[in-house]
Each structure stands twice: as structure tokens, then as C-alpha cells.
Symmetry: C2
Subunit: 373 residues, 2 copies
């Protein structure tokens, strides 16, 4: 087996762990999982049908080969599984299997599975061991670092959950070949985000390497590893999101508002697409505020377009409605602190910063222009 895999350590004191990134990791998952569990430990593998079809047998075989007895907990694929009833169901099935605190909950799947299984791991017996096997690009570069777990509330997405760190993350880069093309491209928006936050050289490298990343191989591994290193550096500074971690929301304020305006219908827009548009808008808005050059916004849009991502509101104007409506969605976003509008703005590529007390009137004027009112 090729062994070109990279290991990215996430340093969080006694909650530190390693992210392994490389090809074929699911097929050798048993060995790596056994390393972080006590002897005789068992596991619950939480997954959905789509992922199970491609990867479950290989994971179970490898676990069995290393003496880890596993119970499979299947949930329906898709965002609606991030809800109270499914959470309860997953927790109860973990308890049904008589798993103990030293046993592991394994999330095998994309972001939904990671968030749901991680939250179940956090609360079953007040906290069990947790291993992530993210199978989507978005999950590999985003949810595998930072410990955010949770479900959705009728009041909004991810409003119920826990900060809970895994013992181990296995990001199998071959698994991404089973993703729909649109999902791969959407996940790539988050890769680009790390370059835009504080790694201008990484962004320039991505501009050159996108075709190789899409094709697979060492460039893909490197893009994912660098993303994990970038997120890890931010999270290590601010584990519980009281300050700098907000930088990770670059593009998310506008992006979330668009997703919400589309009622989170993936037929209309998926998360990464919202982030892609949101990042271009954050650069445009920063240029409007005379913080950055308009050329940076154009350069960002050009690369995201090359990667097949949407970069403006064309085609979404009916969804967005008008500036008032978009501002309402922005104000409802949980990242609003005490009524003030916080935004991630930028002074240029790789120079993002947390801006507090951004005037709502400026945001409104920018949105009205972008929508073409």
C-alpha cells in the first residue's frame, strides 16, 4: 500500500489528537483505531446508507481484524437527521449495545454524520471516546478539526450541541472519489477559505493546483492537510469560539443568509456554494469599505469560478429577495453578539480580520447593489 499519508496534530492540551490524511485509510482503520482505544474496547459505527454502500464493509473488516467488535447504527442520509429524535435514537442504540465510556463512537460519513455522532458521543454516558472518519471533502477540511458537534433546532442550524474533541480523525482521500462532483466542488470552497483567511501563499498554490486536487493524488492530500493545519492553528488559539475562531466564518455571514433564504434546500444551494458566494461578497464589501482592493475580490471570484462554484447572486435573486430580507437573515444568525453586526472582513487575500460594529446601513446598501434593486 502507498504510504504517503500525512499526520496533522491538533494541539488542545489533554484533548489533543491526530488527523491522518491519505489514501486507503478506511481499509486500515482498525489498526489506527485500536491504537487510541483501551484493550478490549468496542465501537458503534454511525453511518448512513450512501456511505455504508461504499465504505462500511471495509471499515468493519479492518476493525474485526484488530479485535474491535462493532455495532452499526444507521441513520437516514441528509440534513434532517440532525434533529432531536434521531439524536435520541443514536444515543439509545449506543446504550442498547451496552457500550461503556471507554468504548468508541465512530462517525463514518460526511458533516451530518460527524455532527450527529459526535454529539451522541459527547452525551452518551456523559462522554464516550469519539473517532471521526469523514468521507466528504467538507467534513475532512472543516468538521474534522475543532470539535463542534450538534443538531439543528426549529430556531436554527447547529443551535444545540457540544464542543467535543475526537481521539482520532481518519480522512481517507480515496473516499472523495465516491462523492458527487457538486459536493466535491462545494467542499473545496472551504479549502479556499483557509488561504483567504491568513495563508496567501496557500491560495496562490491552490490557483495553480486545482486540476491536480480535483484529479486526486499528492496535491489533494496536501490541500486537505494544509486546510487542517490552518483550522487547527485557529482552533488552538480559541477552542470555544470566544474570539479569533470567528475568522473561520469568513464568507459564512452572507453565505448562511443565502442558505436560510433558500430554506436550506440543497437543490437550490449547498453550504459550500453559499460560502463561495459569501467569500466573494466579503471581499467586495471590504473593497466598498475601502479596506481592500477590488482586484482581490475579482481574483477570488475567478478562482472559485474555475473550480465550478457560484460567485455572485445571479440566478439567486428571487431567493435572496431584497436587502431588507437578507439583513433579517443576517441578524438572526447566531454569530450576532448583543445586536451588533460582526463580520469577517479583509484587507486583502490572506488578511481577514474580525470587524465589530459594522454599520447595518452599509451592509444594506451593498446588498441592494448586489441584488440589483
Amino acid at each position: 500500500m502507498r504510504d504517503i499519508h500525512q499526520i496533522v496534530p491538533v494541539s488542545l492540551g489533554d484533548r489533543s489528537y491526530d488527523i491522518h490524511i491519505g489514501p486507503g485509510l478506511l481499509a486500515k482503520s482498525g489498526e489506527l483505531v485500536a491504537d487510541v482505544l483501551p484493550p478490549g474496547a468496542r465501537a458503534a459505527v454511525v453511518t448512513d446508507e450512501n456511505v455504508a454502500r461504499y465504505h462500511l464493509d471495509s471499515v468493519l473488516a479492518s476493525m474485526e481484524a484488530f479485535g474491535i467488535g462493532a455495532t452499526v447504527v444507521r441513520v437516514p442520509a441528509g440534513e434532517p437527521s440532525k434533529c432531536y429524535p434521531t439524536l435520541q435514537d443514536v444515543v439509545e442504540r449506543i446504550l442498547d449495545a451496552r457500550l461503556e465510556r471507554g468504548d468508541a463512537v465512530i462517525a463514518l460519513g460526511g458533516g451530518v454524520i460527524g455532527d450527529l455522532a459526535g454529539f451522541a458521543a459527547a452525551i452518551a454516558r456523559r462522554g464516550m471516546r469519539f473517532v471521526q472518519m469523514p468521507t466528504s471533502l467538507l467534513a475532512q477540511v472543516d468538521s474534522s478539526v475543532g470539535g463542534k458537534t450538534g443538531i439543528n433546532s426549529p430556531h436554527g442550524k447547529n443551535l444545540v450541541g457540544a464542543f467535543y474533541q475526537p481521539q482520532l480523525v481518519l480522512a481517507d482521500t480515496d473516499a472523495l472519489d465516491t462523492l458527487p462532483d457538486r459536493e466535491f466542488r462545494a467542499g473545496y470552497a472551504e479549502v479556499v477559505k483557509y488561504g483567504l483567511i491568513d495563508r496567501p501563499d496557500f491560495f496562490a498554490w491552490l490557483e495553480r493546483q486545482w486540476p491536480a486536487i480535483r484529479a486526486g493524488g499528492p496535491e489533494r492530500i496536501n490541500a486537505i492537510a494544509e486546510s487542517c493545519r490552518a483550522k487547527s492553528a485557529v482552533v488552538a488559539r480559541d477552542e470555544r469560539e470566544t474570539g479569533d475562531r470567528a475568522l473561520l466564518n469568513l464568507g459564512h455571514t452572507f453565505g448562511h443568509a443565502l442558505e436560510a433564504a433558500a430554506k436550506f434546500d440543497p437543490e437550490i444551494i449547498v453550504h459550500g456554494e453559499g460560502v463561495a458566494i459569501g467569500m466573494v461578497m466579503a471581499h467586495e464589501f471590504s473593497a466598498r469599505m475601502n479596506l481592500a482592493s477590488p482586484d482581490d475580490a475579482k481574483r477570488v471570484a475567478a478562482h472559485l469560478e474555475t473550480a465550478g462554484l457560484p460567485t455572485n447572486l445571479n440566478g439567486l435573486k428571487a431567493v435572496a429577495g431584497n436587502a431588507d430580507r437578507m439583513l433579517d437573515f443576517i441578524a438572526q444568525d447566531k454569530k450576532v453578539t448583543r445586536g451588533a453586526l460582526n463580520f469577517i472582513l479583509t484587507r486583502g487575500i490572506g488578511q481577514a480580520f474580525v470587524a465589530r460594529d459594522v454599520p447595518a446601513s452599509e451592509v444594506h446598501a451593498y446588498l441592494a447593489g448586489a441584488i440589483g434593486e
Copy 2:
């Protein structure tokens, strides 16, 4: 106002907090709560009808006087509220009120309210600020230290939850005068427990001071403060219950089995009564294993009897059934590690220790004798 209140610091690094213990604290809660919240913060006060009747107005008035706007979240009194649907209801009502991470969830009530509200605080917005105002003796000396929160599962009590520390605990010792006599006495069993674990001088002091503690006054404050100090010392050594913290389960293995045998019907036995009987049994069993003198078991039983607590299986034999049945309940207890029977045994008063691999046959023989088979 008398100011003889004591402050017990709980040292858990960046999760450290103070427990205030004394008379009249609920009436001045606003001032103390304002000290630990950011300016402008609001609160959700979670409580039940029984507690609200005596204490809610006084807390709300004090909060208002210090500028803390409060939403009241009422739940039905009693253990059945520690369930998934009520948890969801509490979380959603916190979100309804648009409370943010810097706002506080306040638990005003006994152990059920503390466990439920604390768990809601842990998971709403992935963790809000949390303040405990325990109004039962059990809650003041037990759940106010250690950060255990949670609900019950069909598989057992407290199987779903989080370790989540409050910012502040206010134990108003006057509030205990509104408790039913039986509940006060049951809570006192946990006070005695701290003496039996590792504070023989405290146990001897309790033997002398019980009447004054029951009557109220400085001895009551001191008994509660010393209990909090004792628990705090154990928890500081082992926040997430991987080792020494198990000492706090002295009396709980037999006690839980009795509670379970009674289907947790408080008409038959309440938690503190189970612990009282369980502590005597732990001392008797330790004597049977030649670890301790039988005189210690007698001395423990004598004091608990003086405090009006049950100390043996007389009157509970039909509930207990036989030794096989009791052993089954013990084995189902979540404190079993990988099938081995762990017990808290003792070498004498104030000399408890964690015993691993206790032979089930010895436990069976002891139980058969105690039940009188």
C-alpha cells in the same frame, strides 16, 4: 442581613467557580449573579412549581434590581422531568427567549432541576453560562459540586448528559426550611458520606451536631460547606470520573440496586435513604471481608438511625427480593467496568477505597444473609 455565609472555591483550572453557602442568599442572588455575567446579560430561570411557590419571586426581584432580565422556564416537579422531551422543551424555550452564549441558565430547585437545567445549559448554543441555586440539601451537598448534569434513559438513570461546570453556586441554607422533613434527612445521608469517605473527624463532629444541623444555624452552614469542600477535593483530583472520583459512590452500589428494585418509586425509597442503607452495607461487607471492624458498621448505623434514616433491609425485603435479583441490579449499574465488580469498600470510618474485582460470590453470600434467605 446576617452575613455569616461561607465561600467554598472549586478549583478546576479555567472552569473554577465559587459556592456560596449561607442564609438569605436567594434574596440577594441578583448581586452575586451579576458579578459573574457580562454587562447586559440576561437569564433563563429553570424551576418547578414547588420551588417557584417559595422562592421564585424573591430571586426574580433581586435579579431585576441588578438589571438582569429573566425568562422563567417551568417544568413539572419530580424525576420524570429528567427525560428527552423535557430537555428539548427547556432548550427550545431558552432559544425562544433569544438568549445568547454569554447569557445564563439558572437552575432554581433540587437535584432534578440542577441536572436538567445544567444539561440544557451545556448544549443550548453549545454551552451557555450556568448558575446553580440548589434548594434541597441533597442538591447543595452533592450536585452543586462536580458538574454532572443529565437526564435518564430507558436504559437507566443519568445515562445521557454532560460534565458541565457552573460559574456560580448559591446554596441558601434558609431554603432548606421549606423542605419536607423526609427530604432533609435523605439529603443528610450524603453529608455523612463525606465523613465516611476520608474525614473521620467530620463524621465525629456530625455525630455531635446533628440536632443543631437539623435546627438550622451556623452548624448547618458548616456541615454543607465541609461537604462541598470534601466533594470538591475529590472532583479536583478526577474531574471526569476516571479514578478516585468513584469514592463518591460509597453506599451507592447497594443503594442504587435498592432504588432500582423499588422501580425508583419515592413512596418506597428515595436516593438518600438508599445511600444510607448502602453505606451501612458497605461497612458490613467490608467487615465480612476482614477489611474493617464490625463496630464501625454499627457506629455508622447508629448515627444514621439517630438522623431518622433507614439502615437495613427490614421493611424492604419484599422489594429487594433475593440475592440473585440484587446482584443483577448491581451488574446493570453503569459503574461496572468491563464486567468486573467494582465496589467502594472501607478499612474503617473515613478510610474508604476503590476495590476492583470484588468476587461476585462474596457479594452474593453477604446479600443472602442480609436479606435473610
